[in-house]
Symmetry: C2
Subunit: 527 residues, 2 copies
């Protein structure tokens, strides 16, 4: 039985390890053929040293160099799209079309190309020049970045190809990717192409590296290692918080996307106006990807009364009519059961679903839960447990006051939505709920479900703890996502020829926006 | 014996506490007359609740409101300058002129006014609009901010008036200031004026509050409290790391400025060219404020040989000729002795000084230490112990290679300096040291000592751990320092009249720079 190699130190290495794992086909629960290694500390240390050595070589390189790599890599991914899609489909059971082939893979290469464009252009680094004092500053690469990819986006958030990878590289950092154990084959294909793209564009060995899995203890050592600059992590709250503690203690930045139930407030007027439409939108959003989205609407607050009741019934019908999708892994299925149980014990009850799907693959029935507002208010902590998957909890609020109270009890989330009547009749209630919800979410939506996360400069895919580790950063959206993997570097009285090009009087290429004496401009510093 | 009141919940409250303390005149070691309380948790909780209530009232207010308060406060400080200077002089023994009256107090009011201007103008919040997707984002107030002021700047970093205070308020947050125990009277005067300025400008009760001291345990509870948005801390590494752990665990941002020895590399050519001049600059920088600066040059790397030897002797003479200043407190004196001892045991030896000053006040002789490069390399951790005060350690490096090696062994620092010959003869060595030093410091200087920290947009008063808790933030420099006390808030499909004014199509007043579809502009969104 041969073990798949890892990409460390500039080459594919077959590790000498006894600890291995296999991935499963979620649609059949059967193990896949390949065996993958759990890397030991010796191998991880090789990767760390190589990444640091690569960093020492590339620091100071212009953004063009990183852009060239990212673009070459995106082209290579495009050329291998069919194989990537087939592999990801086998490992995740996510639909080939439209999801993997038409949506997620194009999004992934688009992210890589957007990041490349940002690296070339340079404005992301907020070059700032005070001409009178001759003090200049810029965001510069922070050092080797570790990226832990999640299970639910085998492409767009893959540690080896997703948004964190793109941002870390565009900011000028080597990356050590930790693939997710549920789709190692997909990650391997990416790593093969990244490796070749790095060779094509003369990046140093160790600039991109990939391991499949570590022990928890080694993960903590990795994120807190002196040679590591920062870490990006998307995944479960439990594992994330263990890494956070280790990184925090070492003073190493770690950017986490942990969990979110993405509350949706449906105000009375909205139901009067367009109940069926909202039920359609909600169902599509909640069941997309079998609900396995960080921005899945897992908590819906609806008003008590006839309209609220009919809304629940409308969603119930849709949930029952829709086929239950496959869950990503046995772990997700087990966690679904466990979290569901927490909600039920906390006072929620099943409107529909709540049982294993009974299919060959991993899965649960589309599950709609309900709880009355009083119970939620008195038991708000457990009732905010995330059920990762095709499940949502409807809270029946007795009145507007209780909706406000529920908003006050919410934990930090990635998103929060409010649906209201277009004629303004809900506005008084909106104005009470919105400021409270606003402070608890990274992205506030009106009349729109949260699952779409556009890759656009104003996007914030972030939010207050425990949705993430810091409410000032976003993991999606370029250029802001790049600044996570950068440190602020100031130059005080440094001789002109020693300055990074973007901080010299002459703006190289005239592409980057720079803040000169308090004004944003693309001009040179005027003599 | 009456206890001084604290400013909590919108009024001056005389606490019912048995735990009290007094400040000392550092020049005489005698206790000052007033007695100050250590606040108990009940009082702290009043402050937290009041701050949160104030926050709920002011969120959504335009920057003008916070600017008006800051400007009124600055005016009030100016009007009470003499009393503030006298009080700070009594409590810190820092010279009235030029330090307190001509430098630090004007700097403080200047910071408040610069912060006010930034709040009015709005660009600090990086308003970002994607017109095609109708996604918009902006940095918005994070919630009540706790500011712990340090001992060494009774004005410019005072929890109630300094840079963190100004930044937190300008970003739109209420502040709970924790004054430093060594200058409670100064902090009280500030709080009196802040309280009146808040009344003058119709700020809600609880917008500015002040306590003098807490137990360590209550400090941890405070920074991790759910109603607190973030914390700014400047002070000792030990106390700071205790607070950091508590805040990190609660997912609350905490910005720390902990300690720094600010390495200075003096390359051979620089000594050949201008040894006496550098000795003058170094001495002035190192003894300024009795060396009690976060940016004090505490580690100087000089080349072995005749020039290096003469440089050490030149500094020795100057140290011996200069009067030893007064240290801020008994604690600083004790810590000086302790840290000095760590350095001596680690292999450093005394060139001059090293003994208590023998004056009436707290103090040590101006102290110059030396260690050879081999010893530093083999014992780099203890030899980077900060002696807070009028002390510096010279490392005699055997050659350029060893200078490079020393740079590699440095911890994170606020600043790093390199002096080199103006004709370029040191450039090869500069080019080896600079990239290594660059990654370890927030601000890199050429041919200039680090003690001056200009309040200017490109300033970075920050750096890698353990100098601070995160290398992406600066505590000095407007507008960047404001963003520490803000969260990223995105609006997705939100109806136009519900958007914050700075995110509407029309740019209110046309003052703020906004990133619209990737371009910085002050224009409206074009229809």
């Amino acid at each position: 039985m041969s073990v798949q190699p890892v990409l460390i130190g500039g080459q594919w290495e077959v590790p000498d390890t006894e600890l291995t794992f296999r991935a499963f086909n979620p649609a059949t629960r059967e193990p896949l053929a390949e065996t993958y290694p759990v890397s030991d500390w010796a191998d991880i240390e090789i990767a760390i040293d190589a990444a640091y050595e690569a960093f020492c070589q590339v620091r100071g390189w212009p953004g063009d160099r990183f852009a060239a790599f990212l673009e070459r890599y995106a082209d290579r991914i495009d050329a291998r799209a069919d194989e990537l899609v087939a592999m990801a489909h086998t490992e995740t059971a996510l639909p080939v079309q439209p999801r993997l082939k038409d949506v997620e893979l194009p999004r992934t290469t688009n992210q890589l190309r957007q990041a490349a464009a940002a690296a070339r252009e340079g404005s992301w680094a907020l070059p700032t020049i005070d001409s009178k004092t001759n003090i200049r500053s810029i965001y510069a690469p922070i050092g080797p970045v570790v990226v832990f990819g999640p299970n639910n986006f085998p492409f767009a958030f893959n540690g080896m190809a997703g948004g964190d990878f793109a941002a870390a590289v565009a900011a000028g950092n080597p990356v050590i990717a930790k693939g997710h154990s549920s789709h190692p084959g997909t990650t391997r294909l990416f790593a093969e192409e990244a490796f070749l793209a790095a060779q094509d564009t003369d990046m140093p060995p160790g600039f991109v590296q990939m391991i499949y899995r570590t022990t928890h203890q080694d993960g903590c050592r990795l994120v807190s290692h002196p040679k590591i600059g920062a870490t990006g992590y998307t995944g479960s709250r439990t594992a994330g918080l263990v890494l956070k503690e280790a990184a925090d203690r070492a003073g190493k930045p770690i950017y986490l996307e942990l969990s979110s139930i993405n509350p949706v407030f449906v105000l009375p007027g909205a139901l009067e106006e367009r109940m069926e439409e909202i039920a359609d939108q909600f169902t599509a959003s909640c069941l997309l990807g079998t609900g396995q989205f960080c921005t899945n609407p897992g908590l819906v607050i609806v008003p008590k009364g006839d309209a609220g009741h009919r809304f629940v019934q409308a969603v119930k019908r849709r949930f029952e009519q829709a086929a239950a999708g496959v869950l990503l892994s046995e772990g997700v299925e087990r966690s679904f059961a466990k979290s569901l149980n927490v909600l039920l014990r906390a006072g929620a009850y099943v409107v529909t679903g709540g049982k294993p799907a009974g299919e060959r693959g991993y899965g649960y029935q589309n599950t709609l839960l309900e709880v009355d507002g009083d119970t939620f208010v008195s038991n708000a902590a457990p009732l905010q447990t995330e059920v990762f998957g095709n499940c949502s909890l409807f809270v029946i609020a007795s009145d507007g006051d209780q909706m406000v109270r529920i908003a006050e009890l919410l934990e930090g989330n990635l998103t929060g939505c409010i649906y209201s009547h277009t004629d303004g009749r809900d506005d008084a209630l909106y104005d009470r709920i919105a400021p409270i919800l606003r402070q608890r979410v990274g992205r506030l939506l009106n009349d729109k479900m949260p699952t779409g996360v556009a890759v656009t400069p104003a996007m914030n895919h972030g939010g207050p703890y425990p949705a993430t580790g810091h409410p000032g950063f976003t993991s999606v959206g370029i250029p802001a996502s790049l600044r996570r993997f950068a440190m602020l570097q100031c130059y005080d009285n440094v001789r002109p020829h020693r300055l990074p090009p973007l901080l010299r009087d002459e703006n190289p290429g005239g592409r980057a926006w720079r803040l000169i004496d308090g004004q944003w401009t693309r001009a040179d510093v005027s003599g």
